[in-house]
Amino acid sequence: MAISIKINPKLLSELNELVDGKRYHSRDEAVEEAIRFLIAIKGKYYTRPEIKKVFDTYITATSHELLEAIKEEEEL
């Protein structure tokens, strides 16, 4: 099965910049990361202020409480 994606040159350049600067153990790993970047970019990923708004909307616990809970999980 073959997949083709139409992508504008500016986006392609941004994608290559992200992937080219990193080292991967396999081609599959590089492709997986490129797809993740593509989804994030095409999906209009959140900026930092937008991420903060999402957390404000859904998460009442503080980051400290979240991380402490993970450490307690580790202890169990």
Partner: protein, 167 residues
């Protein structure tokens, strides 16, 4: 260039607005303007992701939203790493013995011991955190540690970092 180690508890505040976020935002601005390099353990990001997934498992945040936030955080961090604003430090084999000592003699959690020992090896100008586990004497002896939740921490960082940048 000066470096600042941003422990996971402080790094999380770059993405979640709460007490101490303004200090991490300040550090991010210095990183973006190449005045400092941010450092953190490679394990800081999984710690944050686990916190988000835990909330998703409890039904506090919908799966789709959680995944989009995670993808957005990963992309933001990847971009900062590629522009050399932020370095993700690996858990080097040579650090395991001191990690073991921190757990054995100072009662650290595993992840806290890894963060502390990784920071010590990197010799940053400051170690910023938001976790009372890092207020112990052993941390203060080794690192210039600052709790970003403390009101004085921003002024102290400005003096430490911008004073030296202007020299």
């Amino acid at each position: 260039m000066r470096s600042v180690y941003i422990e996971a508890s402080a790094l999380f505040k770059a993405y979640k607005e709460e007490r101490g976020s303004e200090v991490v935002d300040y550090l991010y601005r210095l990183m973006e303007s190449k005045k400092i390099t941010g450092l953190t353990s490679q394990l800081s990001v999984p710690e944050i992701l686990r916190g988000i997934v835990r909330m998703k498992n409890k039904g506090e945040i919908p799966d789709e939203e959680a995944q989009k936030v995670i993808a957005s955080i990963l992309l933001d961090i990847d971009k900062r790493v590629l522009s050399d604003e932020l370095r993700l430090l690996p858990v080097d084999e040579g650090l395991i013995a001191p990690v073991n000592r921190c757990i054995r003699f100072h009662n650290f959690y595993v992840i806290d011991a890894i963060q502390f020992v990784t920071a010590c090896a990197a010799k940053p100008a400051a170690f910023v955190h938001a976790d009372e586990h890092f207020t112990s004497a052993v941390v203060k002896e080794q690192l210039k540690s600052l709790d970003v939740r403390d009101e004085a921490s921003l002024a102290e960082l400005k003096l430490l970092l911008e004073g030296e940048v202007r020299d």
